[in-house]
């Protein structure tokens, strides 16, 4: 299997000149295509920071993040935005859908940014929303959807850009048990059937139990890395 993500001596230090705090400390990871990986660890262990660094949302203090051979830490801001658009899918803890857009428009939006032709966009939006079980909610605004439904739209949105991998920050944190289980089923099916690479940070034991690889972070360092 090919390596999609590689981090080399990746560190993120806050207050480097006064009292240095290592959010991420010398992390070396290799994530292969199709892995279903959970980043776990106590609060403040650096899970979200590591996801942000891998997603190019934050700049590391040192080290590299190499995605499909491209060191994204060396990309200029506009190039990095463009790289994210075409290579990385995001699912946020608080869903973060655009409230003024319908479910269909939220999913379609990212393809519009990619200049995907209208016919292809429409087809893909319908396929994705049906895939996450929201074929009948296409024209609903986020406020008209439950938390679980919103998170499923977020997953569809993340998949819409045909990314190399999806980063999900505590995707089940705001969901009830049934919604969380449903979301995990969808993500696991996408991983299994479409070989989509998932990396999620989580505290949720249900998510950890479903992960095929569990990386434990403590004080910004990788404490264990177990493949199942």
């Amino acid at each position: 299997m090919s390596i999609v993500i590689e981090t080399q001596n990746l560190s993120k230090v806050y207050n480097p000149d006064t009292i240095p705090v290592y959010a991420v400390n010398q992390v070396n990871l290799k994530i292969q295509r199709g892995e279903f990986t959970a980043l776990v660890g106590p609060s403040g262990s650096g899970k979200t920071t590591l996801l942000n660094l891998i997603g190019g949302l934050d700049k590391p203090s040192s080290g590299k993040v190499i995605i499909n051979g491209t060191d994204i830490t060396q990309l200029r801001p506009n190039k990095l935005i463009d790289f994210r658009l075409h290579n990385i899918g995001f699912v946020f803890q608080s869903f973060n859908l655009i409230p003024v857009l319908t479910a269909r428009e939220n999913v379609e939006f990212i393809m519009l940014l990619q200049n995907v032709p209208a016919a292809e966009r429409n087809k893909r939006v319908e396929t994705l929303l049906q895939h996450v079980g929201l074929g009948d909610k296409m024209n609903a605004r986020p406020a008209q959807l439950s938390g679980g439904q919103q998170q499923r739209v977020a997953v569809a949105r993340a998949l819409a850009s045909k990314p190399q991998f999806i980063l999900a920050d505590e995707p089940t944190a705001n969901l009830d048990s049934a919604a969380a289980a449903n979301l995990l089923d969808i993500m696991a099916a996408l991983n299994r059937e479409e070989n989509m690479t998932f990396i999620f940070s989580t505290h949720d034991q249900r998510v950890i139990d479903r992960a095929l690889r569990v990386i434990t972070l403590v004080d910004g360092k990788v404490e264990s890395d177990i493949r199942r």
Binding site: L57, I81, D82, R84, L85, N96, L101, L113, R157
Partner: protein, 404 residues
Amino acid sequence: MIFTIAWRNVWRHRVRSLVIMTSVALGVWAGLTLNSLYIGMGNERLKIAIENEVSHIQLHHPDYAREFTQAPVMNNIQTALNQIETVEGVKAVCARTMAMGMLATATGSAGVQITGIQPPNESRVTQLQTKIKEGTFFTASKPNSLLIGAKLAKKFKIKPRSKVILTFQDASNELISAAFWVEGIYQTYNTALDEVMVYVNQPDLNKLLNLTDQAHEIAVLLQSDDFTASGKNKIATLFPDVKVQTWKEISPDTELIIATMTQASMVFVIIILLAISFGIINTMLMAILERTREIGVLMSLGMNKLKLFTMILTETLLLVLVGCPVGVFIAWLLITYLSENGLDMSVFAGESMGDFGFSNIIYPDLLPAQYVQIIMLVLITALISSVFPAVRALSLKPVEAIRA
């Protein structure tokens, strides 16, 4: 999609957006209306100056001076009048004889400018005949009739048929006194002139001054101000030995007043635009502050800075584009109504407008190009106002914005 997001964002806070749209509408309405009032006042002032004071073009002897106790005259006046009437664009022409002198009554005396006019020609060139408040306009057959301004008449309690004595110098510096009878009392919009100008029949004055086919001044009324420059050139060619001047040269104060009014109206427009600008900046900054997380998400998903800037710009323009047509429409309705019916300023300013040479009734006027000019200024203001909020949004870091 950017337009869709911007349009829907505008209506997320309906009341706030309506407030800014209303302020834009009010600002545009106020700017257009004020401008039209100033232009209307300027037009009225110009009309009064041309039709009552200076006409479009005047001819004088080259040595004619304003202190004309001994002003040189022009000769062969009747021939000159006939020639000028043939010039393209000339509507009417008249000759005047002038003398500086003293008016004495039983109750007092005052310095006056005595103007000898040709009543039929004068009526075609100026509006003097229509300004008669009491009495008549040189219809009496008896000689030495006189028209006097209402202000001077009031000062000396003069009424029609009152006798006054005019004293002035003739061409040979001899002091002449003659009795005149007040035939009419006139009142123009220029009360300052009404106090010093008295009009008599030109033959009466010429006889006293020992003048024949001679005059100090020829006034030319044109069909429109568009003929002024060409008319001056043609008349100057016909009479190379005579000084030919346009109203702008004779009365630079009139042009200055019109220019000053245009500048003053623009100052008001700029103040209004500044107020609109601060309103827009405040609204958009609030919107961006409230949507920090959303903007962070858009940036995370891959919306580049140009598209984000375009979104904020579109949102700002939409706020203005909804309010602006409403303001333009209300202003157009009001200006159209007032341009036909006039706005009586005496309600606000009494009769004081006349002291400054203005009509008490203003007819606002605004050309389509001036509407477009103000609309463009409002749009440019909106664009400039959107830059600051947009820069604030662009300076956000996705990772921090998402946590907001």
